[in-house]
Symmetry: D2
Subunit: 396 residues, 4 copies
């Protein structure tokens, strides 16, 4: 899983940087905010802070550091997310019921583990250092979830609180969307396991045949999606997968999840005007797929998306990072020859390779430097609370 | 609803005493604890603190105090419990999602309203003073709920926290239970609307015919209920109402809700040994009814219970207060001639007179001086998280 | 349970009459119609035909007739309704999945048991004859259910089939409703266990104190209920119990269950015009209770209802039979001193004495001669598919 | 969708043969059996008989035959399955509530439409003949569903009835399973739209790159799956997708759906001994996937499966038809360049291309001549009531 072996010193530095970003995201949130769980799919912020710490404690310190004493034996149960090999765990849907341990105690837990980690890192062997790198990538994933989950929680509050004071930088996409042509052919995708970290699900690098296609140079914007809505998109079954239209009717979907009337939306910066030129986001795969059909186009496959990013004939594609995750036409399945990592961390990705669709790109909530061209994000097709939009493609 | 008109000075004193008890119960709980909602039927402690304050703000200050400015206009929506006449309200099941307003702000809300109330009380007219008395009785009911609800919440936490440091005073019942004979006849029950407060549901005082009966001088004890369990009580359908046995099977009930193995139980004092001589508690009406049938007895009706407490021939009955609420055989229905109070507070009791059973007595969680002989507590028959047990009766 | 000991000859005659009525109700229904189960609370017609037969086979023939051979050993499991003492049983909600045994085989089962019964009856002892009488009363109850259940089933069919060709006799109530005064006092209600059959739940006869009241001489008519609807009754929470208004909102209730636009309704005679002068029916207790509140009245208690029917000062009350069952203000609870019948038939009534409300009177679907003044029908308050309406009462 | 244009005479003959097979499958079932719907995913047999007839009436006769009069206008609503373009339709889950129209009337419907079709076919234009061919393929799919659905229904009946008297021919697989090597490379799959019928989802023919692999020459047998169970396969989370293990625990799965103790299983021939050498069947994709992982192998992709069947180096693969459908590792997604058929029949396949996995092969319930090498069957991964098993593959 780790193809990048940082030296101990730079690893310690990287460790501090990543851990600090988590705390920075949590800092504007009160202890009560950090305990909030608004649905089973979302977790409390303090749980994210504890679980990412548990990862280092469990897979690094308890596994490889001889003198390490666990901060609290109960935490092994409370903060295991889904690792069956590690033992039983607290129910996911009940994470919001853990008023104790309190947020202050989670802060102490983080400090305790950080101290132990920084003391231990100089002696850590290469395989352990690889687990540290994995743990930091893991923590970055939870940094994004801290924002998606608190946004969902705050959106349930009639007072519509602000989670990120000052908000995120504006991300309007300039200009007009253009299609870029890609010749395809027998191409190679996936991570080559050299020159930097990749998750196991990005491997092995393998060949895929692509017919020629075109791909948009920009994600779809809010103003485009408004046209879809105004054209009756949510009421026209011909545009939808059957499962998607059933969701539309059962849940009463009429727009992306955080859209409100009068051009407003709920966001991390609170209740604000939508920017028509910003990428549309917080939609399900079903909505992305229906929009693409309405637009006379389709979603790109993940192989098309990945290859187009690297193909010099295609040119620069905008909105690959700091914009939105972009739903693809690809189911999240193992690459040919895929083998999960050995040990408990083999549960990291492999056991989720069913019932989900791949997203590519990266969002305004993704930590800097986390995503990459081969990165495979994935969620079930009805998922709406992520920073997810789309980019169009079409056959030639 | 109020038959007791305290003078303004003593009312102000009473106001301070009751309000202080609420704060005393909340004091050992962190801000995070106070936000906890473990099921739709339970509310966060801070919500109880705010809602009881909203009652005074809405029905007293905004209604009768000319210069009063609402603390926060949003609170009218957030902290209305169920008063349709007052306007729309936040969903009950989503009270636990209100990380904001935070606990500190609720504390400020209480202080603000208390100051306004204490300033206003000397000028308050009699009908307004009656609403203040009602509001204090209302707050006392929520004091008990603070404890039942936090106990339920803490029981979901694998760390089994302590809600009341030092616990509640032990309440073992001495001696052996005896049946007391009551001749019955055409008796009068209900509150006479003189000499002290009563809720509207305790009125009007009216005649009821009672055949002769016997009633136990003590509630049923833990050791008695252990016998029922050991005798296979939960597995024998002949002892149960059909709806009750369906609950037993669907939910896997095997003992009162907080009983654990090895004679332990979860309590406000944390995880402790059960006292065999203490009244059994935290059971549904179904369990109380099945136990009584197993014991060759039955539950008393509420009229029997109330009359026996006053009948000099019966003698003292133990465990009427500071022990447990005791399920009766009576459905919670309006007394003959019942009319709800006028105005929005008419919603206080009347609209709940269906699908519930009456409990009599009072529990270790009931504030001192709150319950009385004519008091009608009520919950649906499957309710288990209250301090509820039973007392036996039988025909002669 | 049986206070009436018919001679063997007249019992055999009675047996034939009752059994024939069941077949007469089933006759217009195809085999496929008879297998229909449109909700867990309703049962297929052929199941009713088999279960009533199972009652005689199980409690009479197998229990008391030495040479009797069961028709099919599997039927003991398939057609037990809820008798725990008799053994395990097929799931209620899955009765509609029993395409086999087919309707023809149920017809054969009935014929086989009838022949054995008629042969056995002359030798039957008094206690067995009492069980036969109970079985016939039981079968009459299922005759009403045959009609309520097939009506519910046919109402789900877009073709709105006719269940009773020719329909039921029209039942418009003449004239205008008048209130009749009743002095009340210490009265006696319940069955005296002499002079005819009664279910155990009608006993023992006992004293009840009634304050003076007035009761309407007629059930509420469709035209009255139309006024309630036109006055916004379903949208006004002040008229409803909280649980009732929650049902209204959750289920979208806007009228009695079978009412359709333009004055039409689904009925046993198919899709027909409602008669404004006919008693309103097919409503829940919640709707009856809300209507009464809107009308400035209340539901009578079951004791008031029963006593008024017998009080010579009250005069004749219309619509006691052949009209509608009438919801009362009384919860279905045991009478003072109630003891269930001995043996498995003790499960007949007693174990359902919770979560239900009493109805009095009798409907157009009730077999002639089945209901009586002391008869206690009962259903949960949200029940709508029965022939249930109401009669008003008020305090004096 | 139709690449095969039969002459009118042979099409008429083919029409008669296919329609007769449907009737032959329904013939042993009573009218009551034919109305049975045991879960929302299954439909009553008589509904299958009517819906397949509706297809011809709607898309052929009403669309292209000028003088045709609809048999019953209500049937357009009752027997539309999911064609939004055709209009509203009866709820799928409520198909079992249609006791009327009765089975006899469905028989008359079929006869009426058959007569009209046979009269019309000689004049039918080529595009209409193509819809007839599609309708016959559609009817063959429902022939398999008649068996899968009645089997599920009968399995709910404690009497375990026989749906196919005499049963299906035994299908033990001889010998031992061998892996066959396939070199892969840039291969072509999908239907070439020449030389016979294909569904739109099998097109267009396109190139796929395959790494070398091995594929078993036989499906997995009952005896192999017994080894998996005996080895604790259902209790070992390391073998399962997370969603699959959650299903195992929530539903209590311990074996394929119709397996019973003592080597027995419920089947179309009733309750019979399992043949250890027969292909294992009636399992979900999750179980197939877990078994493959346990066996140190994996499921083949649909491209591997299809190509291997045609690759002369691989040799004959057994169990491609008349055995079981075989779950693949491929999600059911559109082939590159896929375009649904024009008109309402474009809803046939395309709108279901999400949340499902592809099965290849063909089962003992598949009509002769229906399946083919390029055929894509598909079901959600939790589906268990189909004749579905698996074949193993592995990387080289």
């Amino acid at each position: 899983m780790d193809q990048m072996d940082l030296g101990a010193a730079s690893l310690a530095h990287h460790y501090c940087v990543v851990r600090a970003e988590t705390e920075a995201r949590a800092a504007p949130l009160s202890a009560e905010d950090q305990g909030l769980q608004s649905m089973p799919d979302a977790s409390p912020v303090k749980w994210h802070r504890a679980h990412t710490t548990w990862f280092f404690e469990t897979f690094v310190l308890l596994a490889a550091c001889p003198d390490y004493q666990a901060f609290d034996p109960a935490f092994g149960y409370l903060f295991n997310s889904y690792y069956e090999a590690v033992g039983p765990r607290h129910s996911r849907a009940a994470r919001g019921l853990l008023s104790r341990p309190g947020t202050e105690r989670i802060t102490a837990y983080r400090a305790y583990v950080d101290a132990a980690m920084l003391k231990f890192l100089p002696q850590a062997a290469a395989d352990t250092r690889a687990l540290v790198v994995l743990g930091l990538q893991h923590e970055q994933q939870h940094q994004e979830l801290i924002w998606t989950d608190i946004l969902h929680g705050f959106a349930q509050n009639p007072m519509l609180p602000v989670a990120v004071p000052g908000g995120l930088a504006p991300n309007a996409l300039p200009g007009q969307t253009q299609y870029r042509r890609c010749a395809g052919g027998l191409v190679t995708i996936g991570h080559d396991m050299a020159g930097g970290f990749a998750f196991d699900n990005e491997t092995p690098r393998h060949q895929v045949y692509l017919a020629p296609f075109e791909i948009a140079d920009c994600p779809v914007r809010n103003r485009d999606f408004t046209d879809f809505i105004d054209d009756g998109g949510y009421a026209n079954p011909a545009l939808w997968m059957a499962d998607g239209f059933a969701e539309v009717q059962a849940k009463g979907w009429r727009a992306p999840i955080y859209w409100e009337d009068d051009g407003m939306e709920m966001s991390l910066a609170g209740f604000v005007m939508r920017d028509p030129a910003a990428p549309v986001r917080h939609m399900s795969w079903y909505e992305a797929d229906a929009f693409a059909r309405w637009a006379g186009a389709r979603l790109p496959t993940e192989a098309e998306f990945e290859f187009a990013c690297a193909d010099p004939d295609v040119g620069e594609l905008y909105g690959l990072a700091n914009a939105v995750w972009q739903w693809t036409a690809s189911a999240y399945l193992p690459y040919p020859g895929f083998a999960p990592a050995a040990g408990a961390v083999g549960e990291y990705n492999g056991k989720f390779m069913i019932n989900q669709m791949v997203l590519r790109g990266g969002s305004c909530a993704t930590p800097d430097g986390h995503a990459r061209r081969t990165y495979r994000n994935f969620f079930p097709p009805a998922t709406r609370w992520q920073f997810a939009g789309l980019r169009l493609a079409r056959n030639i």
